[in-house]
Amino acid sequence: MSAFSAIGEQREAEEDEFTPGIEPQPTWCPGCGDFAVNNALKKAMARLGKNPDEVLLCTGIGCSGKLNSYFESYGFHTIHGRSLPVARAAKLANPGVEVVAAGGDGDGYGIGGNHFMHTARENHDMTYIVFNNEIFGLTKGQTSPTSPKGHKSKTQPSGSAKDPVRPLSLSLASGASYVARTAAVNPNQAADIIAEAVEHDGFAHVDFLTQCPTWNKDARQYVPYTDVQDSDDYDFDVTDRQEAGEMMYEVESKLYEGEVLTGRFYRDEDRRSYGEEKRATGEMPEEPLAERYYDEDAEWERCAEQLIDKHT
């Protein structure tokens, strides 16, 4: 028997398998958008027939980072901004495991911005969900990288002088091969998009608009959304970089004018994931590396041969 029998098991899964047996008292505020992410993720995983034991969820720090406590799977609640480097190495070490990373907008676009850019660039085969509530939740309402210009908070009492980041454009420019935005007010679309993202072979970035009723009452996430795939007004080719880029630019500008557009904005099915690239150049073993440690027949090369050749 393989050391990892949960991986790839053919099965029909129930949503509640992804709910912890003994659920800890939720620390999220009533009405928080984070509940919607959790629900969509559970739904997507059940639909794909995943086994909680084959999923690794890596989170950052923030209210969003608490997702691990309410979603049943293997988990690694890392440190602020660092879920991506932890997640991508786990995927390289054992490509069979379904790796999902999640965190807030401060976590992902602020402190972890460098990792975001490079993980997208390398196109690691994983899903990255960013809970975008335009605010720092857990540290009690400071301005975040997605807060609109002029947004007042305790640390920017006169209103932020900065333009917000454009996460979708940033993602596309960095090299993500799947980019989508969904919203807590749109649970069906959210589950569909997350399921697609998990299925996608490459870096799938989902910007998830969530509300923070406690610290960010003016956020636009409450207003009705438009699904660009359902609307005749938005016609663009989701596989064309340039068209996708123009569409994202429009979407990101409109968000701060009060129009919320969601859906899939870019998808590249042809680009090889990082793991495949690395395997193609001979930099990565064909078989999942983690398996070797449990394989009694594995041959463990000794250094002496390399060393004696070179150093004697």
Partner: protein
């Protein structure tokens, strides 16, 4: 120490082929049966500047660079075109000659490249006069001319080898054999011709000196010429490490490079990533997924790893980090050794530290201790740090090749199988009790570990305080139980380390005085101890490798047995002496310090001198070291 030794120094500009050339030369001497030890000095620049490598060769063991040197091969700095008048590192081709004269011993040999260093320049520095005063023997040779005749100027270094061989009465066949293994046919031919030409020209000289290759027998056993970096990298691979992530920083880059070149051949993965926070985080991710992983850096980069290091402690994710020290603070002196990151490595990151810190004293210890670091990290689910420095990183030394012929260790430590998980009673509503208070697998504080993809092993690893199942918890009782369990591992680790005997003792057991050291200059200290005892003193030394958990009993016994102890280290604030006093809580009045932090490692004679001044309570005559007396009682 031996009277019969050659210390050959080749000097030139970075990029003049000093490094490769000296490596071949050292290897040739080793193959002929001598013991060799190299020391490399180079500035933080890519081309030009004053750089040299020393190769020390003796028939009976070379544990340090030695004192001064007795043969200078000055190539002439071909990159010496720095237009700035007051640039510290030369504007003149002459520097490889002038910069090196102070350390040249009486009666030594100077060979310089008269093709690059012209007579007028030499006249200006009164070389003749100085040579007479010091009994030096000067041989100008047009090395550049010889090389040019056969095609390329860069072969100057090999012309120098030919000259060296003729002057020392050395057979060039070992050296030529190495060239044959390394070079393509056409380049090889030209180089061999250059060596031969140099040899023949030098044979014509009137040989006034009495230096020659030390007498020696043939090799007893096949030897390997390795640096600390080689030994660390190969030790890690034999420890079953199959994942490395890093970001370049001198001097850590060396280990990273060697690992990256070898891992694909071993079925492993190397990742050069965006920064050191990512590097350490990737190592944690790979380890969490079930692969033995390491990362590392030097001072500044290790500072960035501080937070992931704390995460490893709290989430009990095994990982090995190596820290290659260089002179600080900040970017300090990138290519110069220092031992001033000790406190950084011991205490960086928030909270109470639960980590293992080991400091090897030579190449063999590098290999042994990186294996120990992996063993402890994976058996005890704790981060282990190997701290070494720029000196140990780069210096080469011969070691019996058979020493490295060991079984690889594929055991991922405390991970359990799916069958064991299925039978485990602690299964808790689908969640595995990953952080069980009182699991009993014979190792104190260690609970069983599962990895993603295993059936029934689900758990949450988190840097927040958590309960047995991994859920975040601020419950005071749980907090104390978990803290005590994590910190308690250090006691079991101490016992294992005692069994391994990582501390190295040297000198007569009943000696009156002690010297303590840690890390890379252990060999230098031991050599000094031999000389002191030969000179009628009564001294012994201990090289301490375990910094956390600290070997309290062994060091206490050592300190109890001596009158006084000199603590030798390469930093300005006596960090290791401070650690010893903190850990032992006594012996303050017995401990004095000999410190050096000018960027150059200790030479044995300096330690001899420092020891003699310390016991006589005299001022140090040498200005590049500092003596800090005992704290009083």
């Amino acid at each position: 120490m031996t009277d019969q030794e050659l210390i050959w120094r080749i000097a030139g500009g970075s990029g003049d082929g000093i490094d490769s050339n000296s490596r071949y030369f050292a290897k040739a001497l080793m193959r002929s049966g001598l013991d060799v030890f190299t020391h490399r000095h180079y500035p933080s620049r890519i081309r030009g500047g004053h750089t040299y490598v020393e190769v020390r060769a003796t028939p009976d063991g070379a544990a340090s660079r030695g004192d001064g040197y007795n043969f200078l091969l000055a190539l002439g700095d071909s990159f010496a075109r720095n237009p700035s008048e007051d640039a510290y590192y030369g504007n003149e081709e002459l520097k490889p000659l002038t910069e090196n004269l102070d350390d040249l011993r009486e009666g030594g040999i100077i060979v310089y490249d008269s093709g690059l260093i012209d007579d007028e320049q030499v006249e200006e520095i009164n070389l003749e006069e100085r040579a007479e005063e010091n009994g030096w023997h000067v041989y100008p040779v047009d090395l550049r001319g010889i090389a040019k005749e056969h095609g390329r100027e860069i072969m100057r270094n090999n012309a120098g080898i030919g000259v060296t061989a003729a002057l020392l009465d050395m057979d060039t066949s070992e050296y030529e054999g190495i060239m044959e293994e390394m070079w393509e046919e056409d380049i090889l031919e030209a180089n061999l011709a250059v060596i031969q030409d140099g040899y023949e020209q030098a044979q014509e000289f009137d040989q006034t000196h009495d230096l020659s290759i030390p007498d020696h027998d043939g090799p007893d056993e096949e030897q390997a010429l390795v640096s600390g970096s080689d030994a660390i990298a190969y030790g890690a691979l034999d420890a079953g490490c199959r994942f490395i992530s890093g970001y370049p920083m001198t001097p850590w880059t060396d280990v990273f490079t060697i690992m990256s070149q070898n891992l694909p051949k071993f079925g492993g993965i190397s990742e050069q990533v965006e920064d050191e926070i990512a590097a350490a985080s990737l190592a944690l991710g790979a380890s969490h997924a079930g692969v033995k992983a390491m990362s590392g850096s030097s001072g500044g980069g290790f500072a960035l790893m501080s937070e992931p290091l704390g995460l490893a402690e709290m989430s009990e994710t095994p990982v090995v980090l190596v820290e290659a020290m260089r002179a600080g603070p900040s970017t300090g002196m990138p290519t110069k050794p220092e031992q001033a990151d000790l406190e950084h490595v011991l205490y960086t990151s928030q909270g109470d530290s639960s980590r293992v810190v080991l400091a090897p004293g030579d190449q063999q210890e590098c290999y042994e201790q990186i294996r120990t670091a992996f063993e402890l990290a994976y058996d005890y689910q704790i981060p282990a740090i190997l701290v070494y420095d720029q000196k140990l990183q780069g210096e080469l030394r011969n070691v019996d090749a058979s020493f490295f012929d060991r079984e690889p260790d594929a055991d991922p430590g405390s991970v359990i199988t799916e069958e064991e998980i299925a039978e485990a009673a602690e299964h808790h509503a689908g969640k595995f009790k990953r952080f069980q208070y009182d699991a009993d697998d014979g190792k104190e504080g260690v609970s069983p570990r599962s990895v993603p993809g295993q059936k029934g092993g689900r758990f949450l690893a988190t840097g927040n305080e958590h309960n047995e199942a991994g859920h975040i918890s601020e419950d005071p009782t749980n907090r104390v139980l978990q803290m005590d369990r994590r910190l308690g591992k250090l006691a079991s680790i101490r016992e294992e380390l005692d069994e391994k005997g990582n501390q190295t003792h040297h000198g007569p057991e009943e000696a009156e005085y002690g010297i303590m050291c840690w890390g890379s200059h252990q060999g230098t200290v031991f050599e000094a101890v031999d000389r002191l005892n030969d000179a009628g003193h009564s001294v012994k030394a201990i090289g301490v490798s375990d910094l956390m958990p600290y070997p309290k009993e062994e060091v206490s016994a050592f300190l109890e047995s001596v009158e006084e102890c000199l603590v030798v280290e390469m930093n300005a604030t006596a960090q290791f002496r401070g650690l010893t006093q903190k850990e032992l809580g006594r012996f303050g009045p017995k401990l004095s310090s000999l410190l050096k932090y000018n960027g150059n490692p200790f030479e044995p004679a300096e330690i001899v001198e420092g020891f003699e001044s310390s016991i006589e309570g005299e001022e140090l005559a040498v200005s590049n070291m500092k003596y800090v007396p005992a704290a009083g009682d």
